[in-house]
Amino acid sequence: MPSRVVLALGLLVLVLFSASVAVGYAPLDLRAAFGDLLAGRQSLAALVLSELRLPRAILGAAVGFSLGLTGAALQGLMRNPLADPGVVGVSGAAALGAVIAFYFGFSASFALALPLGGLMGAAAATAVLLALAARGAGTVMLILAGVALSSLAGALTALALNLAPSPYAALELVFWLMGSLADRSLVHVALALPFMVVGWGLVLATGPALDALTLGEDAAESLGFPLRRVRLLVIGGTAAAVGASVAVAGAIGFVGLVVPHLVRPLVGHRPGRLLAASGLAGAALTLGADIVVRLVPTRPELQLGVVTALIGAPFFLFLLARLRGREA
């Protein structure tokens, strides 16, 4: 039953991925474009496909998978349905890193300064968290450290906005922070995807340990899962995947919090079984929202983070109302 759900979600992701490649502002003959791309012809169609459509679809799927997967893993680690990839503080730090790159004008001199700044911010926050985890800090301590990092990064980001050289610069920063997949290239994919894949691997490896944590930390450890290692894997994996996501796409809200709740009625509450399904559902939601962004004819384009929150939050409320009394 759950594996059938995973299969169905996988198919849905494939369909939405194809739709995402097919949808765009410029008209595109997909068949010709693929033909040119595979044949190595530098036609306009091939360029639109390789420079605009494909990176956007790949990042949509990968960022969504990262958010859905790590949201489910953190909820399992903390045994708290309100946990979200943001709580480890890496998202805020990645955003701050990108803002710093922007603020000091590095992004004007070379385009990849934003994602590189984001990765550095995420790496710094991850180093702090891993140092704490290696010294034996408990889960609550790590989350509190994440909240502190998040607040600090938020304050410094606000400071950058406060001192922005011009209102236009501030506006551009705010837009970037809302999260978007527009105008990303395959270089962005190459920069972020390796970190994400490593992060996914680390997090997926904790499935059985997260199942065991259903019984609490002592019982989980007694079942043969060293908690220190489990924390390192989940927090390190989340930091890698989400840090890279924020670095290339900005902060895309609500996916990590909501998606595990959407998937639980389908695959049950066992945290380990939730991981892959939640990742795929996150990919589907993000791809879908990014298609909506391009179909809604507003100028400026709706930001992806705005749309995921607009879809996610009401659906979350609906779900809570429906499940009222069934679960905590």
């Binding site: 045994r79 059985p208 199942d211 065991a212 944590l213 259903t214 019984l215 609490g216 002592d218 019982a219 450890e221 007694s222 079942l223 043969g224 899962f225 060293p226 049950g268 509450h269 066992r270 945290p271 380990g272 069934r326 679960e327 905590a328």
Partner: protein, 251 residues
């Protein structure tokens, strides 16, 4: 299996929770661990389970140290039932019990999980969601989870605290039967009557020290009970068995 604690001490800050405590339990023995609140029983259980490294002394499992066996190996060697266990997600009962199979590389509801459910009398609850269990039902489900490990050592911290009289009797009988089948069973207990009736041996702790250890009749001695709990006990005889009832505050 032989579980041995050798001069175990645990200090945390200025507090000494367990003092120079030694204990030997052979397979086939049901040992009841008694003592007033704060005597160090739970700390000792965590040390025996390998969850806490003692400040000094060591614990040996068939002569081997925890570090030698490794966390994974310990998972198959020791089933540990924590005090006030919670079930954090509303899984069906059979999936909760099957979590006990994780040390064996599976979380499937297999034969061992079914045996454990049958032994703990929770078969009828198999598909019930864990969030709508009563306190007593949850306690028995968690005991079934621990039994599902089928480990040679079972450590249970207050397994009968939440149970009604019938289920207290059944759980005590179940722990005794588990020991009869060859396991080392150590349970923290507060009911002196049940402890005296069902356990093969008792260990009485006070202030982190082992005050008395041995056959139930010897440990449930007036002087020991007065010193450990500050109570006077009444003794009755029923069907040739001695029943010990704490009756009044000492003095």
């Amino acid at each position: 299996m032989r579980l041995a604690a050798r001069s175990v001490s645990v200090t945390r800050g200025a507090a000494t929770l367990v003092r120079d405590l030694s204990l030997d339990v052979e397979g086939g023995t049901f040992l009841g661990l008694l003592g007033p609140n704060g005597a160090g029983k739970t700390t000792l259980m965590r040390v025996l389970a390998g969850l806490e490294v003692p400040t000094s002394g060591n614990v040996l499992y068939d002569g081997r140290a925890a570090a030698e066996i490794g966390r994974r190996g310990l998972g198959r060697t020791i089933a540990y039932l924590p005090q006030d266990g919670r079930i954090h997600w509303p899984l069906p009962v059979e999936e909760v019990v099957a979590l006990g199979r994780l040390p064996h590389g599976t979380a499937a509801v297999d034969e061992a999980a079914r045996r454990a459910m049958a032994a703990a009398g929770v078969e009828a609850l198999a598909t019930r969601s864990a969030d709508i269990l009563s306190g007593g039902e949850r306690a028995r489900v968690l005991l079934a989870r621990a039994l599902a490990v089928e480990a040679p050592i079972l450590l249970a911290d207050e397994p009968s605290a939440a149970l009604d009289p019938l289920h207290q009797l059944e759980v005590m009988a179940l722990l005794r039967d588990t020991a009869r089948r060859g396991a080392v069973v150590v349970a923290v207990l507060h009911d002196l009557t049940l402890a005296g009736r069902f356990c093969d041996r008792l260990a009485l702790m006070k202030d982190g020290r082992l005050l008395a250890e041995g056959a139930p009749a010897a440990v449930l001695d007036d002087a020991y009970l007065a010193e450990a709990f500050g109570v006077d006990a009444v003794r009755l005889t029923h069907d040739g068995e001695t029943v010990v009832l704490p009756w009044a505050r000492r003095g």
